[in-house]
Symmetry: C2
Subunit: 191 residues, 2 copies
């Protein structure tokens, strides 16, 4: 077997989520994941991921970069929340409709395990930090940058939860835009 | 040695923070903490705390309760943020000036260890959840309740960080009130 496996990373992620959903996270080994991913090896797995847990958070780096790049690219005239909305558009555009089922399974696996929930909380913090930094670089003061980023991750995760419901017919982009709008409206009621 | 030790809990917390600050969290044993707390035993320690880590988060339950009780007790006419401000007043009132040095050491110990930081993030989430629930019980809609609670914990932790600076001369209550005011002002700039 050669060192180069086409789409190995993506295949490993899919195999891991399938196995975790079927037989549980704790019961699944790296060997089984590699095998299920179309006969890959443990060595290939560890070329892509540090451990079994990280396979579930494979998107962290690229998601962070999508968010910060979009904020950097927003027009100078954009308000902090308009820049955050652009960031959410960039991120949610990568979640096509055929990822809905997979995302639902991923979400259920994480919800079922407190170690994974802690790790997910950390990813959330990383995404928020990426947006906060990007907003600061636009000259947004610290408190406002951090609050706008918080609203952004809140809108994203809430929308992601709604979108993974099989009954949902909208795109993730639309759900996220709507959720961000609702958060802005809620802010106005805080007094 | 009798089963009842006056102020054992408080003495154990102080001893633990002192030892962690002096010789590191990992290097300190439960036996050493009990000993330093004026000759207490390991058994006494475990009557109060599940493990070495939990001694640093001893305030979680009482802090949650202070916050939710104050929100429940706020006048019917209070806005969500006014109720949160009352909650912060109740919580910060328990941090007298003579706890500043201790709090600074506690903060440094946590900042130095990623496991403790994760645990601290969990406590933050518990406090936010306590305020969110208490606000919901007042009839505040979910999104607004959760946002108001987030602003509250943000103000508290930011103020706590500023207050533990030895150069700071204000009470924690004053710093927290000021911080919450600044967060409200920042919200108005998000666009």
């Amino acid at each position: 077997m050669g060192r180069w496996e086409p789409n190995a990373r993506e295949r490993l992620v899919r195999a891991a989520v399938d196995l975790f959903a079927e037989q549980g996270y704790d019961a699944t080994t790296v060997n089984e994941i590699a095998e299920r991913a179309g006969g890959l090896t443990k060595t290939t797995f560890f070329r892509h991921f540090r451990d079994k847990r990280e396979v579930l958070f494979a998107g962290q780096e690229i998601h962070s970069r999508l968010l910060s790049d979009a904020i950097a690219a927003a027009p100078d005239s954009a308000t902090p929340l308009q820049a955050v909305a652009a960031a959410l558009d960039a991120l949610t555009a990568t979640f096509s409709g055929d990822r809905r089922d997979f995302s639902a399974r991923l979400r259920a696996v994480i919800a079922d395990n407190s170690e994974l929930q802690e790790r997910a909380m950390f990813k959330r913090a990383v995404l928020a930090e990426a947006m906060t930094d990007a907003l600061r670089k636009r000259g947004v003061p610290d408190a406002a940058a951090s609050l706008a980023a918080e609203l952004g991750v809140r809108a994203f995760y809430s929308a992601f939860g709604d979108w993974t419901d099989p009954a949902n017919q909208q795109t993730l982009a639309d759900v996220a835009r709507q959720t961000l709008k609702e958060l802005r409206a809620a802010i106005a009621t805080l007094g």
